[in-house]
């Protein structure tokens, strides 16, 4: 393996700048989505982000704790129906339903998880697959007022009283034709963001490490004081709670819930997203959500022209492709898309951790003299690679018309990378002027700056056209 282009110490100024650039990409992507995409595309994006939350929930159990959970469709369904019922029948606000949904999901997780997780083996898979099968039928029961609450076989519509209040109309995209879906987009992004933060914190600390230890070696974990059934059940309940949250978001987004939306097939979709994105990584769950929604959408589109059998426009093709993906990824890319992305980024940058005394644990600068000059190139690459990856994802999201898709792809890529490339280029030039960069950085750095300037002009023109001229 070739050495990474850039080696930085953890928490050094360079490392921070690199992270800052990444945050900028992410923020740019999120901010521009509701501006650039058409309303129905925003809807798709919303669905993808909701799937990401649900996949993250599955990941907690399957990827981080090594237990097989095949029934998260039911937890999503519970969250969705509780939300629909409280919002529609009791006139609650979505924010008021939120804690209820989290708690109900948690309790369901304990009820299902505790019996199955006391014992080692595939028992959780057994219970959860049965749970997934039984849930869509349970909502049809007339007794106990269940069907009245759930809408029975007809499903339940929820009033879309979630248009933005006037004090939030400044949010990008939240007015005009795309207002409703864009506002829901912002709520979903906010919930997803908080979820990611909380779950990342959880996994990177004592309780999270115990969960990972169980996955990697149960006997070892027990000897070091991890109470296996308690930790497993707790983790499963958190996961169920998160699954219910995804259900709430689903209800919010679709405005309609029905039992047949939450079948075993949805649970399998979650597993597929998990494998596609990357089992046991948080980023993998995000990527997985995007891809599952996209593949589902694409196959629906091409089934009819290919003359394949379809049932309500939803043919078996998606399932066949998913099945193939599962098998191929298990064989050839068990780490999913994220592991491939990590392979790329490990060639670009290496972050060296620090000792408690604040020293890097290995020397940073054993470069050849010539190596210095490659840093500017590396900076440009760093500026280009992530937006290319993001932009490909974006392209895939909007493949309704390939030519428009490719055009939009180019524009969006420019919008994204422009400010970043300019920033990196400027930094390199400043360093050059200060005398700690060789001459050879000048070319690439100027290039990055030029690209950045062009992109920035474009962004301004675009913004003026969109907001001022209201085109």
């Amino acid at each position: 393996m070739s050495a990474p282009l850039v080696v930085v110490a953890k928490d050094s100024a360079e490392h921070k700048r690199w992270q800052y650039v990444q945050w900028l990409y992410l923020a740019g992507f999120l901010l521009l989505t509701p501006l650039v995409l058409e309303p129905f595309e925003i809807g798709k994006m919303n669905r993808a982000l909701i799937m990401s939350v649900a996949i993250l929930a599955v990941n907690l159990v399957v990827g981080f704790n090594g237990m097989l959970a095949l029934g998260h469709s039911a937890f999503m369904g519970i969250g969705a129906f509780v939300t629909a019922s409280m919002v529609q029948d009791e006139n609650w606000d979505y924010w008021q339903v939120l804690p209820v949904v989290l708690i109900v999901g948690f309790i369901m997780g304990v009820v299902i998880g505790l019996p199955a997780l006391r014992v080692k083996g595939l028992y959780l898979a057994l219970v959860t697959i049965a749970q997934a099968a039984v849930f869509p039928t349970l909502v049809n029961i007339d007794e106990l007022g269940i069907a009245a609450r759930t809408g029975g076989p007809n499903g339940k519509g929820v009033s879309e009283e979630v248009i933005a209040p006037s004090y939030l109309e400044w949010l990008p995209g939240v007015d005009g034709a795309r207002g409703g879906s864009a506002y829901r987009y912002w709520i979903i992004v906010l919930m997803l963001g908080i979820t990611l933060l909380v779950i990342t914190n959880y996994l990177r600390s004592r309780p999270g490490r115990a969960v990972l230890a169980i996955r990697d070696n149960e006997a070892g974990a027990a000897v070091y004081g991890v109470n296996l059934p308690v930790v497993k059940t707790m983790n499963f309940a958190i996961s169920a709670s998160l699954g219910s949250l995804a259900g709430l978001m689903w209800c919010l987004d679709k405005g309609f819930v029905a039992g047949q939306d939450f079948t075993f097939l949805l649970a399998i979709d979650l597993i597929i997203g998990l494998v596609l994105g990357g089992v046991g990584t948080i980023q993998g769950s995000l990527v997985g959500g995007l891809f599952v929604v996209w593949v589902n959408d694409l196959t629906k589109r091409i089934s009819i022209p290919l003359g394949l059998y379809t049932l309500n426009g939803d043919g078996p093709l998606a399932k066949a492709i998913f099945g193939l993906i599962l098998i191929l990824f298990t064989f050839f890319a068990p780490g999913g898309i994220v592991s491939l992305a990590r392979l790329v980024s490990s060639k670009l940058i290496k972050v060296v951790p620090l000792t408690p005394a604040g020293e890097p644990i290995e020397p940073l600068s054993n470069f050849d003299p010539g190596m210095e000059s490659t840093r500017a190139d590396a900076a440009v690459k760093l500026a280009v690679v992530p937006p290319v990856l993001l932009a490909i994802g974006w392209l895939l999201m909007s493949v309704n018309n390939l030519i428009v898709g490719v055009l939009a792809f180019g524009l969006r890529m420019t919008i994204l990378m422009a400010p970043v490339a300019m920033l990196v280029g400027s930094n390199e030039l400043k360093a050059h002027a200060a005398g700690n960069r060789p001459d050879s950085v000048q070319g690439p750095a100027n290039m990055a700056r030029l690209l950045g300037a062009a992109g920035t002009v474009f962004v301004i023109v675009y913004a003026v056209q969109r907001f001022v001229l209201n085109y």
Partner: protein, 256 residues
């Protein structure tokens, strides 16, 4: 010397179907002692470890540690009284980095819970920083800082064995049980490991139950020897006496 035994193994029998892995085994260990437990492969040494750490249930018998009945506890409670072990075939967590492995080693004595961790409360952050420093110190003690941030998967067997030792040390154990710590080491490494074990015992006030096939090492550092054969204890006592016991010689010659 009027010392009360720290670990007392009484009448432990373990059966797996027809196999009697341990047959009415009893012995005691004093505080601060290094006790060598030897015997041919399949004699039941690892099974005893598994009984003490409550991974196996003994068919009969009991184990007491400092007056507490270990057989009445479950596996995750054993670490609370300060009993730790390493594993013959390793039980590390390959999906985590080496330093994280060591940090989990002190799971029992740390407190951060799901809430305080998810919200990164100040108490949790302080504990985490302190834990990381102590894990680093444990790695330093065993010369492992070079690999601190490498994934535990894929390191050489000898290094992994030392990581297991570091993981047990961070928790300030009272009794540490080492299952064949020298397997896979070179001769020079074995000698330095023997010295390390003695030093660690003195520095950390450990009591060490050592299972090892490497006779020179066992005889070099053990203060008491217990010999098993087919699950039965065939000798027990001072190493110099035990090593000349005809039955012990017979067991070893007969087995290889």
């Amino acid at each position: 010397m009027q010392r009360v035994a720290l670990l007392e193994v009484s009448d432990i029998t373990v059966r797996f179907g027809g196999i009697v892995a341990l047959d009415d085994l009893s012995f005691t260990m004093d505080e601060g002692q290094i006790l060598g437990l030897i015997g041919p492969n399949g004699a039941g040494k690892t099974t005893l470890f598994n009984v003490v750490s409550r991974i196996y249930d003994p068919t009969t018998g009991s184990v007491t540690f400092d007056g507490e009945d270990l057989t009445a506890m479950s596996a995750h409670e054993i670490s609370r009284v300060g009993v730790y072990r390493t594993f013959q075939n390793l039980a590390l967590w390959p999906g985590m980095t080496v330093i994280e492995n060591v940090m989990v080693g002190d799971h029992t004595n740390t407190k951060a819970n799901v809430m305080s961790s998810a919200l990164r409360l100040p108490s949790m952050r302080k504990e985490e920083a302190d834990l990381r420093d102590r894990a680093w110190a444990a790695l330093e003690e065993l010369n492992l800082t070079d690999v601190a941030y490498s994934p535990a998967a894929g390191l050489p067997f000898g290094t992994l064995k030392r990581i297991e030792l570091a993981r047990a040390l961070i928790a300030n154990p009272r009794l540490i049980m080492l299952d064949e710590p020298a397997s896979g080491l070179t001769h020079a490494e074995v000698d330095s490991l023997a010295q390390d074990i003695k030093d660690l015992r003195d520095r950390h006030n450990l009591t060490v139950l050592l299972v090892e096939h490497h006779m020179r090492m066992v005889l070099g550092i053990s203060e008491k020897l217990v010999v098993l054969n087919f699950g039965r204890k065939i000798a027990d006592g001072d190493p110099d006496v035990v090593r000349n016991d005809p039955e012990v010689i017979e067991a070893y010659l007969g087995s290889s």
